[in-house]
């Protein structure tokens, strides 16, 4: 299972953290820092897998990561997951973000934390992979947006009516 999904930038600033096992807040922050130190000191072009840090459970867990421009996407998984499979999953996640935000960049993640969480929720649930088909994921996200839009416009109408009265 996936124990945690972390996104942080080249300076270690967290942009998304999702833990599927409970830790207290301090430990979560320490794990993010520890993971950043482990991952960021690695050269480009080395392999995408390494053993987890001590806080996350040491060598029983693997960190599988990809580095895109300014962001690191790190999945911490146990031995029941396929390494290459998770690597693909990261790719699907990023491609989905890219479709949803149109040329996604770090700022999108900063200003739309909630959206990123919602997209991730379509892919991973309780540490298990829910969906890997990008079209299916985007369909779900689109459906959410439609509902959101209709609710927003409905509430605007009410405001408008309020003003007229």
């Amino acid at each position: 299972m996936i124990k945690a999904i972390l996104i942080f930038n080249n300076h270690g600033k967290p942009r998304l953290s999702k833990f599927y096992e409970h830790y207290n807040e301090d430990t979560e922050q320490q794990i993010i820092r520890e993971t950043f130190h482990l991952v960021s000191k690695r050269d480009e072009n080395v392999c995408n897998f390494l053993e987890g840090g001590l806080l996350i459970g040491g060598s029983d867990y693997k960190l599988i990561y990809r580095h895109y421009a300014t962001l690191y996407f790190v999945f911490c998984v146990d031995s029941s997951e396929s390494e290459l499979g998770i690597l693909d999953l990261i790719q699907v996640f990023v491609e989905t973000l890219d479709k949803c935000f149109e040329n996604v960049c770090e700022l999108d993640l900063i200003f739309h934390v909630d959206k990123v969480h919602h997209i991730l929720a379509e892919m991973v649930m309780g540490g298990m992979v829910l969906e890997t088909n990008m079209n299916e994921i985007i369909t779900q996200v689109d459906a959410q947006n439609k509902m959101e839009k209709s609710e927003v416009s409905a509430s605007l109408k009410i405001c408008y009516l309020d003003q007229i009265q």
Partner: protein, 955 residues
């Protein structure tokens, strides 16, 4: 159109985030955040009801603040309120907040559960999905209790939408992981298996994950999934990729599902049905064939997906370990990957080959790649990959290539990354021992290890070399000669001095004939290192010196002079000083015969498994370690070794001989051996030899007390020691700079006697020493503790003993407190220590037959008689340790009662003055989840409760 348009965000949120980003310093950021938190708090507390939009906005802000690493201690209520909103956006943000911020212990769970219940019943798929996500993400016990029975129903209901089925499957999987006991098996299990035939591949994927986990726990119930999984896999593998439309990923057909199906099949042995078996073989062959085809795309995603399936297929082939043909093909394929330009593939190939090496069919084939692996060790840029190469070399090592592999590992060690040095040291030490035909090679290898990486050579390693040298007389002369030569180096590692001191002390006589290593030369060589060493090593050297006096009477005078020097006789360190005094005295007054008897050569150690192996396993986790015995290994990862457990659980046995040569490396692997021992042996020494003034009986008792206390940690506070006493009766209960309190206790039926030893650690006497035992009002009537008087003066460095008589009147759950008061250098000291008298001390173990057990178990079936607790393992899960703890707890362990041999069943009777309470217990370890389930049934509710509390803290 992008799915998320950038304009529809919340303006207030965007402004706040920009503010934070513009902060120049951490302080400014914190200030801005605190301001915002105050603002939100006032909004939430304000009289004006907030509309959904504002609530959503503030909750988003809180999420952002939380992400930055700040504590959020409010807003939960508002988030819970959002859950019951009818608006999707508000509900969604409420659920998001809860799954990110609410932990499983939160008191809000009940309210959240209510909202979830409504959403699950809403028949609105979107709402149902949100609710299922929340259950899966939080995964708490309360939620499992509330929903575990609903979810299977949703999963198999005919009218459930595909997306909801997907979520329900994974939700159930999650609950099964966190609270397996709460997820009922039932008629739904059969129907879940049939989800493997579902039209929707997303549903199949989720169902496969679920079935894999369930099948690991109860394989028989899910046997039928094998044929369905093979059929499904076959359809995917042989299909033209267009059939699967969206689930084709970069020209690979449903790679994720294929991987999951191959994982599921790894829960089972090869199918027995011939046609099914050939169909599976065909699938595996097709996957192997596809690897040889030219890629359909140059994109890395294409090769990733293809290889993900390939590696999983190879894992299945290795797991089945039955088709030599496939195994050899797998090995060849991995061999190709070993030289692939993609680092990821090299890494994975090394990892897979490790498991392949333990198959008898392919061990030889793996060995042919040795040169490639060695070159990987030397040339890989990535430490992760090099580490896998070390693992593989270790796994492929056998008698034929051990010299080469050990040599390569040793030479790699010189430049290895610090992070993996210790592990390599352990591996080299194990291989050298295991494959040593010629023990001189073994001795050379270990000495080289110490020379190259002395800092990483743990005690276990040098203990082991000494055990082996002692036990094998053919190597003793060579060992003495080699350490003597190694010690010539101007700077040598302290571990070498230890080994050298020990071996020369025992076997120096074997090389003393050579004038270049005459007794005096040997002694001078050792003594030249003395001043550079730490106290434990110096203590060991002093023992070596006294052994020299016995071996070589001609150097007696020289050594006595050394012992007599002020730096020894008046050494500030008590241990060294005492040894110097006693050894000097011994050498002066004992006759040659007595000396020869006392300082005789060490007897051989009992043969047992290397403690190094246990250490390596502990370090690596047993799952990925190649088996040391040549027996085949279960690839799924269970390499349980009962022997290791023994090593960990054995309390050191102190033989007379061992004590005299105080630093004899102990066969078991107690890391704290030296520090514990150094304070003990000198007393026993005098005790047993009677050469000094007669020791008080208290002192010798104290020795016994401390000898089985193998992990003295002098600075810990008293409460930390307390839990250890639940399962044992003797040890140190309290220690500070002034005082050490040791206990020895014995219980029979409802009576107990406790010997308390107060040790004055200072060089000043304690005056007005007094003690009292206090109990609260309730406890007073349940437990009588009567103290015998204690001496009001404790001289410097002395111990006094006090006896406490204990009587258990009725069952109790509180703890008496021992209050100690004394004057030290004019100031009054007060110490309060919880006395480890617990209910379980009054246990009498009861043996019974399986039939009786079940009969009684049923008799104690009333709900208040049973207490059950499920808890996470705090320590490594180890059968023998658990056994020892349960026995220490006081019950009899009943074998053959529980159908599952991994479980423990015990029985005993608690004796109190008023009644006797029969007690049955069952402990079920779940190694995979690292959890235990403890069930206790006794005839009295309070007893069940208390015993459960006590015992559940022990694992």
């Amino acid at each position: 159109m992008p799915a998320v348009s950038k304009g529809d965000g919340m303006r207030g949120l965007a402004v706040f985030i920009s503010d934070i980003r513009n902060c120049k310093s951490k302080e400014a950021e914190v200030k801005r955040i605190n301001k915002e938190l105050a603002n939100i708090r006032s909004k939430f507390k304000g009289d004006k009801a907030l509309d959904g939009y504002s609530k959503k906005k503030y909750v988003c802000k809180l999420l952002f603040i939380f992400l930055l690493g700040h504590d959020i201690d409010f807003g939960h209520m508002e988030a819970v309120n959002l859950l019951s909103s009818n608006k999707y956006t508000e509900k969604q943000i409420g659920y998001l907040f809860i799954s990110v911020l609410v932990n499983s212990n939160s008191e809000l769970i009940r309210l959240i559960n209510n909202a979830i219940k409504n959403d699950l019943a809403s028949r609105n798929p979107t709402f149902m999905n949100l609710a299922l996500h929340c259950i899966a993400n939080v995964g708490s016990r309360e939620m499992a209790e509330a929903f575990a029975s609903d979810i299977p129903r949703i999963l198999v209901a005919g009218d459930t939408m595909d997306s909801v089925k997907q979520s329900a499957a994974l939700c159930l999987l999650r609950l099964n992981r966190t609270s397996p006991d709460l997820v009922p098996m039932g008629e739904w299990t059969a129907r879940v298996v049939h989800l493997l035939n579902d039209q929707h591949l997303g549903v199949v994927t989720a169902a496969t994950s679920l079935i894999t986990t369930l099948a690991q726990k109860s394989p028989d119930d899910f046997k039928t999934s094998v044929s369905l999984a093979v059929a499904r896999l076959s359809r995917i593998v042989t299909s033209a990729s267009i059939d699967l439309q969206d689930y084709t990923y970069y020209f690979v057909a449903a790679p994720w599902l294929s991987v999951k199906l191959l994982r599921l099949l790894q829960c089972y042995p090869p199918p027995e049905d011939a046609s099914l078996r050939s169909r599976l073989t065909e699938c595996l062959e097709t996957i192997l064939n596809k690897a040889q085809e030219p890629p359909k795309s140059k994109k890395v995603q294409h090769s990733n997906a293809k290889n993900a399936v390939l590696f999983e297929a190879i894992a299945l082939i290795i797991h089945h370990d039955s088709e030599p043909n496939l195994l050899v093909r797998a090995c060849n394929q991995l061999g190709q990957f070993l030289q692939h330009r993609e680092t990821n593939l090299r890494y994975l190939a090394l990892e897979s080959m490790c498991t392949l090496a333990s198959s008898e069919f392919s061990h030889e084939a793996v060995k042919t790649h040795i040169e490639t692996v060695i070159s990987a060790l030397k040339t890989e840029r990535d430490v992760s990959v090099r580490q896998r190469a070390v693992d593989l070399l270790y796994a492929m090592c056998d008698r034929s290539n051990s010299k080469q592999i050990v040599a390569e590992m040793l030479s790699y060690l010189e430049t290895a990354d610090y992070s993996i040095r210790e592990e390599i040291v352990l591996k080299v030490a194990i291989l050298a021992e295991k494959y040593a035909v010629d023990y001189t090679w073994y001795v050379d290898t270990i000495l080289n290890l110490i020379r190259i990486a002395g800092d990483y050579v743990s005690e276990e390693v040098w203990y082991r070399v000494i055990q082996i040298v002692i036990n094998r007389d053919d190597v003793q002369g060579y060992a003495a000669k080699t350490v003597f030569e190694a010690l010539q180096a101007p700077a040598c590692h302290e571990n070498l001095v230890k080994v050298g001191g020990y071996i020369l002390g025992e076997f120096g006589n074997l090389i003393a004939g050579d004038p270049r290593s005459s007794p005096l030369v040997q002694f001078n060589l050792l003594h030249s290192k003395f001043h550079l060493c730490s106290v434990p090593t110096r203590a060991l050297l002093l023992s070596a010196y006294i052994k020299f006096i016995n071996l070589f009477p001609e150097v007696k005078g020289t050594i006595q002079d050394v012992l007599r020097s002020d730096s020894q006789l008046r050494n500030a360190d008590v241990e060294l000083q005492q040894r110097a005094v006693e050894y000097l005295r011994l050498s002066c007054i004992a006759s040659t015969d007595i000396l020869a008897t006392v300082l005789e050569e060490m007897p051989p150690f009992p043969e047992r498994e290397s403690s190094i192996l246990a250490k390596l396993k502990k370090k690596k986790g047993s799952s990925k370690l190649p088996d040391m015995d040549d027996s085949r290994k279960n690839v799924n990862g269970n390499t349980e070794h009962a022997e290791d457990a023994e090593v960990a659980s054995k309390t050191p046995q102190f033989l007379l001989e061992e004590l005299i040569s105080t630093d004899r490396p102990h066969p078991s692997s107690s890391a704290t051996m030296l520090p514990t021992r150094t304070m003990v042996p000198s007393h026993t020494f005098t005790d047993n030899l009677n050469v000094n003034s007669a020791p008080s009986s208290g002192a010798s008792l104290l020795v016994d007390v401390f000898s089985d206390f193998s992990s003295a940690a002098p600075t810990e506070s008293s409460d930390e020691h307390f839990p250890r006493f639940v399962c044992k009766n003797n040890g140190v209960i309290y220690e500070n700079q002034l005082l050490q309190i040791g206990l020895k206790s014995e219980y029979r039926q409802n009576l107990g006697r406790m010997y308390v030893f107060y040790g004055n650690k200072t060089s000043t006497q304690f005056q007005s020493f007094s003690t009292s035992v206090s109990s609260n009002d309730v406890l007073c009537s349940q437990l009588n503790v009567q103290e015998k008087p204690v001496d009001p003066l404790i001289e410097a460095g002395a111990q006094v003993q006090q006896i406490l008589n204990i009587e258990c009147v009725s069952d109790f759950s509180d703890t008496p407190v021992l209050n100690i008061q004394f004057r030290y250098g004019g100031t009054l000291q007060n110490i309060a220590v919880k006395l480890p008298v617990m209910l379980n001390k009054f246990f009498q173990p009861t043996e019974m037959m399986s039939q009786d057990f079940f009969q009684r178990w049923k008799q104690l079936g009333a709900p208040q008689q049973e207490v059950q607790k499920i808890f996470k393992a705090k320590n490594q899960m180890d059968t023998d340790v658990t056994k020892a703890k349960l026995l220490g707890f006081g019950v009899a362990l009943l074998d053959g009662v529980d159908p599952n041999p991994a479980n423990f069943v015990g029985a005993g009777i608690i004796h109190t003055k008023t009644t006797q309470v029969g007690c049955l217990l069952r402990l079920e370890p779940n190694a995979q989840a690292q959890m235990y389930r403890l069930t206790l049934r006794t005839s009295k509710e309070s007893v069940s409760q208390r015993l459960c509390e006590l015992l559940s803290e022990q694992f």
